[in-house]
Amino acid sequence: MKKKNKVTESIKESLQTPTTRRDFLKKGTAAGAIAAGGMAMTLMPKRADARTYQAPPKWDKEFDIIVIGSGFAGLAAGITAKEAGQDVIILDKMPIGGGNSIINGGLLASVNSKLQAKEGVKDSVDLYVNDLLKAGRGLNHVELIKMVATEGSDLPEWTAERGVQWNPKLEHLGGHSVPRTLLTTNSSGSGIVKPLTDYYKTKLGGTLQNKTKVIGFVREDNDANPNGRVQGLVVLENYKFDYKATDGDRSNTSGEKKYYKARKGVIVASGGFSQDPFLRGAQQPSLGKPTDQIDSTNQPGATGEMLENMFKMGAVPVHLSWIQNGPWASPNEKGFGVGSSYQIAAGFRFGIMIDKKTGKRFVNELADRKTRADAMFKVIGDPKKPNYPFTIADSDEGVLAAQTLEKCLQKKVVLKFDSVEAVAKHFGVPLEPFKAQIKEYNDYVRAGKDEQFGKPIDKFIKPIEKAPFYVMEGVPKPHHTMGGVMINTKGQVIDIETQKPIPGLYAAGEAVGGPHGASRLGSCAIPDCLVFGRICAKSISQEKV
C-alpha cells in the first residue's frame, strides 16, 4: 500500500486530476502491464480522464451489443448475436468492411469435420493442440485452442449455410499432422467475408457501420463497484481513414464524436497491428519505422489502438512481441505481392540467400519464419539505406515451375541473369567470395548435408550452376501479430488486477493473444476468429443486464 501511494504521488505529478481510486489504480496497473509486455511508457495518457470515458447524459445510439471490426471474428459475432435476436451493430473504422480477413488466403483448419470423415482422415483435438503447441513453441494457451478445436468442427457447415463456398477436398498444410484444411473456392478470405457480410446485412438485416472509429470505452465507474461494467463506446462517426498516413493513422481526428451505448457489452474483433509502426516498433524496434519504410502484408487499417484501449482498461497483454514477419516478401513490390509465392516455392527452397556486402549466406533458407526474418533484418540494417539480401537460384526444373515466376519477371521482382558475374556486378557483390560461396554450397548439396547452416537437403535440391540465374531481393514484412489481450474460454477479456473478466468486454480474433503462442500455424487463424466470434456472441447474449 505504501508503495502504491508512492506511485500515486508520481502519477499525480504528471496527471492533473485522477478521478477515482479505481481509476488511479488502473493507471498504475496499466503501466505495469505495458512494461511487462515490453511497451514503452509513452502510452501514459496525457489527459486527466484518459483511460475510460464516463457515461454521457444522453447516449447518441443504443444497442445490446457492439462489435468492433468486420473481419472473420466480427462477422461471426455479429451474425451469432443477430441470430440470437440481439440488437447488434458492427463498427469498422475503414471505409470498406472486411478488414484484413478480406485479403486473407481463405484457409480454414477444422478438426473432426465432416469432410475429414468423408475422406477418412483420423484427427483429434489432441493432435491439433499438439500441432499448434509445436509451432507455437509451447507458449499457446491450450484451453483456448481446445475450444477452437472442439467448437470448430462444424465451421464448414456453419459457414456454408451462410453462403460460403468451399472446395470439396481437404488440403494438407505444413505443420499439420493430418489434412484438416478447407479452402474457399476463390482462394481468398473474401470468399468468407463477402457471403457472411451479405448474410448478415441482407438476410439478418444487420447493420455494419463503416467509417466509425472507436476512441475509447465508457465504463461504469463508482466506488461501490470497483470492477465496473463496460457500458458503451465513444466513437468518431464519419471517420476518414487517411490511407496516406505513415504512422498508422494515429494523428487522425476526423469525424464526429458520438456515444454509443452497449447494454450487454462490447466485442472487440479489431485485428492485429502489423501496420502500426508505434506498437510493432515497441515490440521489435526494427519494425518501428513508418509504414512507407517498413511494408506489411496487411491492410493499412491493421493498427493497434483498440488493443491499447483495452490495455488502458486493464486487459492483460499476451505475447505482444511475437510478431510474425514473412521472410519471403519483396522490397520491390507492395504487400504479399507475387514475389512471396516465388520465394517460398523456389528462391528459398532451390536457391541460397546472399548478403550483398559479403557475398555469403547468412541463414538456413528453410529455417522457420522467425529465424529467417531476424537474420534478414540484421543484414538489412538501416531501413533508410537497406541492404536487402537476395536469393539466387538457377534454371532448375523446380525453379522454372514456380507459378508466379513469369509475373515476377514481368514486374521485375525477380531478375534473370546469364552468369554469376552478372549478378555480382548488378548488386555490387564481391565476386570471389560470392563464387566461393556458391561452390561451397554446391558441394554441400552434392554431399547431401549443409555443414554451413543446416539447410535440409532433399533429393530435389540441386547444385546452383545452370544459367540463367534467377535472383530476388528479400525483405521480411510484418504478417501476423500473435499478441493481444488475454481472454477466457467464454471470450471475456481478463482484468490484470482482478484476474477476472472485465464485465461487458469480450474479444476475439487477432486482437486476442495466446492461442497461437510464438508462431501461428497456417490456416489456424480463421477457425480461431470464427469460433471465438461465435463464443463471444453467445456469452454476451446471455448476459443479464
Binding site: 471505409p95 478480406i102 463477402k194 507492395k334 504487400g335 505481392g337 514486374k411
Partner: protein
Amino acid sequence: MYMFGLVFFAQCFLCTSVRAEDPANEPQRLMTAVSGDCAACHGSVQMLPAGHLDTKGLTLDECRMCHQDEEVSLTRKLPLSHAHQLSGIACKDCHGDQDPPKPVEKAQCVTCHDQQELIRRTEYLRKIEANPHDSPHYGTDLDCNMCHYEHAKSELFCAQCHDFDFVVNSPILGSEMKAKITPEMNSRCEMCHSDLQYNSHFLDASHGILDCTTCHNGIDDIVQHMKKQDTPELNSCALCHEEIDEQFRQDAHFVKENMTCQDCHTNVHTAMKQDMETFKHDVVETCTQCHDKGTYAYLGHGGSVLVGNNDSATCTDCHTLHRTPLYGSEDKEDIAAIRVMQTRMCRTCHDDPEVTGRNGLALAAVADFDRTYHGKVLGIGFPEQSAGCADCHNGHSTLAATDPRSPLHADNRPAICGQCHDDFHPRFASFIAHPDYTDRERFPLLFWTNIFMEGLLFSVFGFFWLHSILWWRKAYWKKWKSAWTPSDGSQTDSEQVLDAPALANPGLINDPPASTDPDILKESQKETVTEDRAVPETLPSVVCKNGQYVRRFSLRDRIMHVLLILSFFTLVMTGFPLKYHETAWAKAMINLFGGVRGAGVCHRTAALILIAMFLYICWLSMKYLFPKGKGIKGWLGRLFGPDSLCPNLKDLDDIAGMFRWFFNRGEMPRFDRWTYWEKFDFFAVFWGMFVIGLSGLMLWFPELFSHFLPGWFINIATVAHSEEALLAAVFIFTVHFFNNHLVPNKFPLEDNIFTGRYTVEALKEERPLEYERIMAEDRLESVKAEEPGVLTRLYSSVFGIACVLLGLSLTGLILWAIFFY
C-alpha cells in the same frame, strides 16, 4: 497551337509543384465559384499560362475544342472536381447546401454514373488482373472515392497490395482506360453531340464498340465545324462491311437509285443486333417505306409476314438482301433471268415439305410443276421459252385460286394463259399446271391414265425381260457346253444335237460359214437324220452350195428401217432430256440439238418422218391385203398367212414352245417367215404411233386441240406421251436389241436388216418353215441373192453396232435418271 500546348504543359507542371510545396497556395473550395473562373478558387496563383484565353464561364466542352491533342490534353491534369464544375455540375449538386458540405459517397455518384455500365466498361480488365469496379475482394462495395478523388490526384485502391497498371481517371476526361473501348469518341464528339443516340444509346448499340471517327472522318477546324462549315465526311460502310458493299454495288437500289446504306439502315447509331424473330417483319416495314405497302405488303407473302408468319417470304427472301438484281423489264434475256430467279426463290420454300406442311400448302406443288412442259423446259435451262411461277402467280399479292382477286381464279385464268398462248378455247385454261398424278379425287382421268401407262410398262417389260433372260440363259448355256464338250459324235444330249446348227449362223463377216466345220456339219447331218420331217428328198444342188445367200428384206424395207432408226434416235435424244430435265446429261444432250428450240424442231421433224412412214406402211399393208386383181378375195388368208406380220394362233404355240425350250422341256419351235417377237415389234409401232403420235400432236398444238378437248387433256397427253416413249425406247434398246442382236448366237449384230440377205443355212436354221415353203414352192431362185459386198457389210456392221451401242448408252442414261434422280 502545338507550342502553346507545350508552354501550357510546362507551366501547369510548375504551378502544381509550387502549390504542393506551399500550403498557402491551396485553392479555396468555393461553392459559389463560376465555371472556368480559376481565380475565384486559386486566388492570385496564375493557373493558366500567359496569354491563355480567359476561361471564365467556359464549359468543359468548350475547353475541349482546343484541348484535343494529347500535348495539351486536360486528361489527368485537373482533379475530378474540375470536370464536374466545368460540366455544369456545381459543388452543391453533390455536397448539398449545408455548411460544412456533406461528404459525397457512392450513392451520390451513382445517381449519374451507372455502376453496371462502369463494370461493363472495365470488364476487359478482369482477364488481365481484375475488374476494379467488381473487385474479387470487395465486389461492388468499394466507394468510388476509394480510387477517384475529387480534390486530389486519384489513385488505385488495389495498388495498396497489387501492382496493377490500371489508370484511375483524374479527372475522367478521355482516359486511356476508356480510350481502350471507345477511343477519342467519348472525349470528343459526344460532349457536344450529347443526344442520347450518340452516346449512351450508341454505346449499347451494335456499333457501340466503334469510335465516331471510324465512320465520320475527323474534322480539321473545330470553329468551322461549329459553324457547320467543316462537316466530317462519312467513311464508307465498306470499311468493315466489305462483302456487303461489293454486293450492293450491283444492287438495283444502288445502280438505279443511287441509294446508300443509310437509306435503309436509318438508325446506325442506335441499331442493336437484329432480332431474327422480327427480321422478316422489319424488312417489310423498311422496304415499304418507299414501295407501296398496298401493292406489296398487304396481300400474299408480305401480308402474311406482317401478321407474324415467319415462314412466309419477306421482300429480301426473293429479292435478296443486298443484291437486288437489276433487270430491264423489256429485255428478253432479263425476263428469262427474272423468271429463273423468281422460280428459284419460290422453290426454296415451296419445295420444302416442312414449310409447306406447316402452312397447309400443296406439298408437292413444285414437283408437280416439274412434270409439266413448263417445268421441264424451265428445268433444263430455257426459261425464255417457258413459264415460271410468277408468270401465273402474282409474286406480291399471291392469293388462293379461289379468291376472285387471284389471277388464277377460274375467271382470270384464260387471261393468264393468254400472256403466252394464242387462239385457244377458254377451256384451254383448265390445263393443270401442277398435276398430281396420285390425286384420284381431283384428277381421276389423269390418275387412271398414269396407272394404265405404268401397268403397261410393267407388264411389257415384265414379260419380255423375263423372255430375254431365259432365252439368254438357254442360248448361253448351249454355246458354252458346245465349246467345252468333245464333239466325237458320242454326244447324246438332245439339246446339243438339235441346236448345234445355231452356231452355223454366219453373222459376222469374218466368220467362216459354220458348215465348213466338219464336226458341225456332221451334227447338222445328224439333225436332218433325226428330224422326221417332210423335207423334199431332192433339194436343188444350189441349196447345198455353201454360203448361198437369199434375200430377206427388200431395199425399201432396209431404207425404211434405217429411216426408222434415225428418226427414232432423234426422237429419243430430243425428247428424253425434257423428260429427265433434272439430270446432268439432259442439258448436254439438249444442247447438242441447239437447245430446247432446236431439239423441238428435230423432234417434230423426226415425228413427221415417222408418221409418214407409218402411213406408208398402212398403204403397203393395204396393198398386201388387197392386191391388185385379187381385191378383197382371200384377204383373211393373207392376213393370217405365213407371210403376214399379223399374229396368228401359231404364234401362241410358238411362245409356249419357246418357254418349253427355255426350260429344256422341248425343242425350239420351228418358225416361219416372221417370229412372234418380230410381229410384236411391228405392232408395237402401230400402237405406239397411235398413242405417242396422237398425244404428240396434242402437245404440239395444244391451243388447237382445246377447241374440241378440255385443257386438262394436255396433261393426259403428257403422261401418255412420256410413258409410252419410255416404253418404246427401253423396249427397243433392250428387248428388240436382245432378240435380234445380242442373243448369244447372233451377238453382237444381226446385219441382215441392213444387208437385206442371209445364207440359206441361216434361213433353214432360223426359219425352217419358210425354207421348206420356199423349197416346196420352188421359189429359191426368186429369193436368191448375191453375197453382200465387203463395203455393204462394213457399213452395215459399223452402223448397226453404233446404233446398238447408242441405244444401250441411252438406256443407261435413262435408268440412271430413273434410279438416281
